[in-house]
């Protein structure tokens, strides 16, 4: 058989410039998981339904199972590994809230869920309940029943309110 055509792919992943020799039809999820060993991004349905593979591409949430290497070449990609707290070693407030409110069980949907929450709150820091539901309805969770997830998202919003309102 012939080797699939491959050439250089570059992108900025979690702030670092990455250059890979891969087929341009490689899916972003495989670039991340197999080539860059960033296994925080999960793979579950591979048809864009479950959101386990959610990453940020130039700040926008995308299902990395639906994005081909050629479509994201030159982009800025943020995966769950690139989500950082304010200080070194600290969790991002969204992650912290998920831990405190029990917003996960098996945890397999969690990275995608956290990324979607980030995308949602980046765009709309004060979402209504309905906007939260719309923002997260592309992410499936089979374990939690979403209760803990909702409490976590609301906690982030409340905390921001609280901190924001103090002078």
């Amino acid at each position: 058989m012939t080797e699939p055509l491959s050439n250089f792919w570059t992108a900025v992943v979690n702030g670092e410039k990455k250059q890979l020799h891969i087929a341009q039809t490689t899916r972003l999820v495989d670039v991340l998981r197999s080539h860059l060993n960033l296994t925080g991004t999960k793979v579950s349905c591979e048809v864009g339904r479950c959101g386990a593979c959610m990453v940020l591409m130039n700040g926008e949430p995308v299902n990395s199972c639906l994005v081909m290497a050629y479509q994201c070449a030159g982009s800025e990609i943020t995966t769950i590994e690139g989500l950082l707290g304010e200080k070194e070693g600290e969790l991002h407030p969204i992650q912290q809230a998920f831990v405190e409110e029990g917003g996960f069980q098996c945890g397999y949907c969690t990275p995608g869920m956290v990324i979607s929450t980030k995308a949602l709150l980046d765009r709309n820091p004060q979402p209504s309940q309905e906007q939260i539901e719309t923002g997260l309805c592309g992410n499936l969770c089979r374990c939690t029943g979403y209760g803990g997830i909702l409490r976590a998202v609301n906690k982030v919003i409340d905390e921001r309110d609280r901190v924001g309102s103090t002078p």
């Binding site: 058989m1 699939p4 998981r33 197999s34 060993n37 960033l38 296994t39 925080g40 991004t41 999960k42 793979v43 579950s44 349905c45 591979e46 048809v47 864009g48 339904r49 479950c50 386990a52 995966t79 769950i80 590994e81 989500l83 969790l91 992650q95 998920f98 831990v99 405190e100 409110e101 029990g102 917003g103 996960f104 069980q105 098996c106 945890g107 397999y108 949907c109 969690t110 990275p111 956290v114 309940q129 939260i132 539901e133 719309t134 997260l136 309805c137 592309g138 992410n139 499936l140 969770c141 089979r142 374990c143 939690t144 029943g145 979403y146 209760g147 803990g148 997830i149 909702l150 409490r151």
Partner: protein
């Protein structure tokens, strides 16, 4: 107690696996890689039922980058698996019985190349007409899928007492209904897979999810034809299971390929393959006739259960046993005639799934209760109370069960609840358009925990002080999301007043844990608790006596605490894991203690069986968890859509060890049950799945859930109860369906008997909806 973060206070315990999960740092077994690993794939049948005429693997073998192509000829040991009844071929040799049957497996240097190699395998079949339903499989003259006896019957069950004919004859009213339940998919987010690594000593290391590592090891040894010690199974963490990963799935293929190639082999099922090959919940047809006296007392109950168990047995028989036991509900019924049959078909394999056959049974029996109450013109809750078993009554199978007040407690708590009280005044909101209807329904359940009488259900555990000076526990349970590790931490901190940093918790590794049974049947928490009850006293007295020797202070003045042993008078009794007392310091640290004596002296083991009824009733349970669920539902009679607005779960399961975990289990179970009720069905046509992925198989999203979900925990247990907290892994998922369908009935007048609720049954012509809107306003 209404369970939430506020009411839990200091017991709101953050999970130790939290940081790894929210940061994506935690490696699941399907995330693991090794530098020289290759990729395995399985070739599955093209037909649900066919004879294999020939298999030609030469093309695949000759391909560059292909390391091995295996078929049934390459299985050194038993070419079969199955947790209870090994009747599923690792590789089919002559006949395929379902669309997930494996015929060959390949290992290649990339997943793509492995897929190409599968395409190059040539198989000739003689296609047969599949037996696509239990009816077809039991029809006279149907071919036999297994050498199992006539009619493709895997298993039959029966409960008979009294005389139903006479019972029915004396009845004032009889309700007859047939209930149908769907082929629900576990839909765990992490599909099956893992890494299979042979080492230089010829041992095989299996990193793959299962709910029972030791059982996997036993089965794999049987398939490979090696000793169990030649295999190590590492089986946690798991990205969800719900019963779906209790059977072997990719393990036989990964193991055989790795051994053949002498290299690590990675397997990871695609979702489509997972749907095709994986277990599902048994679709069941349950016919019920229930008769009552003029006073509304149940006199007679006839039940016929038909379960589609699919191509192989797996736990079809125990699931049917459980369903049979639970189709009497928590009611006392003098005349009973129940027969169940579990039937082999060419459909997907049905097996273990959260609720274990209880969900189907409870949907049916509770549906009967609501229908009967309506005929009696009686409040459905009052109707249930009249017919409820007394607490000292025997269990459904006439077996002795542990006496508790759980049933009446959940009944009363629900009776008092605001949500259920709403049913007296059906919530009509004048602001709603007339085609939107609301109703409230409720259901009650008793749900057995453990595997039941007559089925080996070993438990045990190990408690030790390890060389690093940590209090170490080891169990063969698994963490598949339920929060077991957090619960263990809390139990240990409670017992020894220590902090989480004094602990080492080991699960999911057959090399490091004793054989203490499976994480199934809502049993892990109870089992761990019982094991620790047995182990704590000898362990503590060993620690205190050595500490006494080292410190010169009498042992009865000492106590275990944070970092080590303290003087009792310097450690206030309410000291908790998070609040060390000030002004005092540890007398002898665990680290120093561990240096004292031989390592073995610090190890304490226990082995016992899960408690079962003393009566000789196979499958009969002894411990039950009780629950009541109420649901408020809104139905759009133009679209047929039903939406759950509000629910309340009352659960009597003994002390709540881990509130966060408890709430999570009930919420998660409830939403899974919501899917079972409203949207989920892995539809098969001619024994092939037509719903092959999560875009057509619809599990609830965050938009579909009931954000008002309250969990009330009743923690009472009888004085001196030796069994501790009861399992709650399943109870949240078993009684929601009948509560929803009762609410739908109140809203629309339609009795639903089929799940997922068929929308077309709830659609009314606009003219009718409008008229009803007018007349009700």
């Amino acid at each position: 107690m209404l369970l939430n973060r506020n009411s839990s206070g200091k017991r709101w315990h953050l999970r130790p696996d939290g940081v790894g999960k929210v940061t994506g740092q935690l490696q699941y077994l399907t995330d693991m890689t090794l530098p020289d690993m290759i990729h395995g794939r399985v070739l599955r049948s093209s037909y649900p039922y066919a004879r294999i005429l020939s298999i030609d693997i030469t093309g695949a073998e000759a391909m560059e980058g292909v390391f091995a192509v295996l078929t049934s000829k390459d299985v050194p040991g038993l070419n079969l698996f199955g947790i209870a009844t090994p009747d599923q071929p690792v590789f089919c040799e002559d006949v395929v019985r379902y669309i997930g049957d494996a015929i060959a497996a390949v290992a290649a240097d990339s997943p793509e190349r492995a897929a190409l190699a599968l395409d190059a395998i040539r198989i000739e079949y003689e296609e047969w007409t599949p037996l696509d339903s239990p009816e077809a499989a039991m029809a006279p003259g149907a071919p036999e899928l297994h050498e199992h006896g006539p009619g493709n019957v895997l298993h039959r069950t029966e409960i008979k007492r009294g005389n139903v004919e006479e019972g029915f004859a004396a009845c004032e009213h009889i309700v007859s209904e047939t209930y149908y339940t769907p082929r629900q998919m576990h839909a765990y987010m992490e599909t099956e897979g893992g890494l299979f690594v042979p080492d230089e000593n010829g041992r095989l290391h299996v990193y793959a999810a299962t709910q029972h590592g030791y059982k996997d090891r036993m089965q794999l040894a049987r398939i490979i034809g090696c000793s169990e010690e030649d295999i190590r199974v590492i089986s946690s963490p798991i990205g969800g299971s719900f019963g779906g990963k209790d059977e072997l799935n990719v393990q036989p293929y990964g193991a055989l390929l790795a051994l053949r190639c002498g290299r690590p082999v990675k397997m990871h099922n695609s979702r489509k393959e997972s749907v095709r090959a994986g277990l599902k919940r048994h679709p069941m047809k349950i016919e019920m006739q229930t008769g009552i006296s003029r006073e509304g007392m149940i006199q007679a109950h006839r039940v016929r259960i038909t379960a589609d168990t699919g191509a192989y047995a797996t736990l079809g028989a125990p699931v049917l046993n459980f369903c049979t036991e639970h189709c009497l509900g928590p009611y006392s019924i003098p005349n009973v005639d129940v027969e169940g049959v579990s039937v082999y078909t060419n459909n997907g394999v049905s097996g273990e799934f959260r609720g274990f056959g209880g969900n189907q049974a409870i949907f049916a029996i509770e549906g009967q209760m609501d229908r009967l109450a309506e005929i009696m013109n009686m409040d459905p809750w009052e109707f249930r109370r009249r017919n409820m078993r007394e607490k000292s009554d025997p269990g459904p199978l006439n077996q002795r069960i542990l006496v508790t007040d759980g049933l009446s407690q959940v009944w009363e708590a629900m009776d008092r609840s605001e949500l259920w009280q709403k049913h007296l005044h059906p919530p009509a909101d004048p602001a709603l358009p007339p085609w939107i209807k609301r109703g409230v329904g409720a259901a009650i359940a008793m749900h057995g925990a453990g595997l039941g009488y007559g089925i080996p259900d070993p438990a045990g555990g190990r408690l030790s002080l390890n060389a690093e000076g940590k209090i170490e526990v080891a169990f063969s349970y698994e963490e598949f999301g339920q929060g077991l590790i957090a619960t263990l931490e809390m139990m240990l901190c409670d017992l020894f007043h220590c902090s989480t940093s004094d602990l080492s918790i080991i699960i999911g590794d057959t090399d490091r844990v004793p054989h203490s049974g499976s994480s199934t049947a809502s049993r892990s928490t109870t089992m761990a608790w019982m094991a620790l009850q047995r182990l704590q006293a000898p362990f503590r007295s060993k620690i205190l006596s050595v500490a006494s020797t080292l410190s010169g202070i009498p042992a009865d003045e000492l106590i275990t605490g944070i970092e080590g042993v303290w003087r009792k008078d310097q450690l206030s009794p309410e000291v908790t894991a998070n609040e060390p007392t000030m002004n005092s310091k540890v007398l002898v640290s665990y680290v120093d203690l561990a240096k004292h004596g031989e390592a073995e002296e610090w190890i304490f083991d226990t082995q016992f069986e899960y408690p079962t009824t003393p009566d000789n009733v196979v499958g009969g349970h002894y411990l039950y968890t009780y629950a009541a669920v109420a649901a408020e539902v809104e139905v759009n009679t133009l679209t047929g859509e039903a939406k759950l607005l509000d629910t309340r779960h009352v659960v009597a399961a003994g002390p709540v060890i881990n509130p966060m975990g408890f709430i999570g289990q009930i919420e998660g179970g409830s939403v899974m049950a919501l899917g079972f009720t409203l949207t989920e069905d892995a539809v098969m046509q001619d024994s092939r799945y037509t719903t092959t992925n999560l875009d057509t198989y619809l599990i609830p999203t965050i938009r579909d859930i009931h954000t008002n979900l309250e969990v009330e925990a009743i923690e009472d247990l009888p004085e001196g109860d030796p069994f501790g907290p009861r399992g709650i892994g399943e109870i949240g998922s078993v009684a929601l369906a009948p509560a929803i369908t009762a609410a739908i009935h109140q809203a629309t007048g339609v009795w639903v008997n089929r799940l997922p609720v068929p929308r077309d049954q709830l659609i009314k012509p606009l003219s009718v909806s409008l008229q009803e809107g007018v007349s009700s306003s």
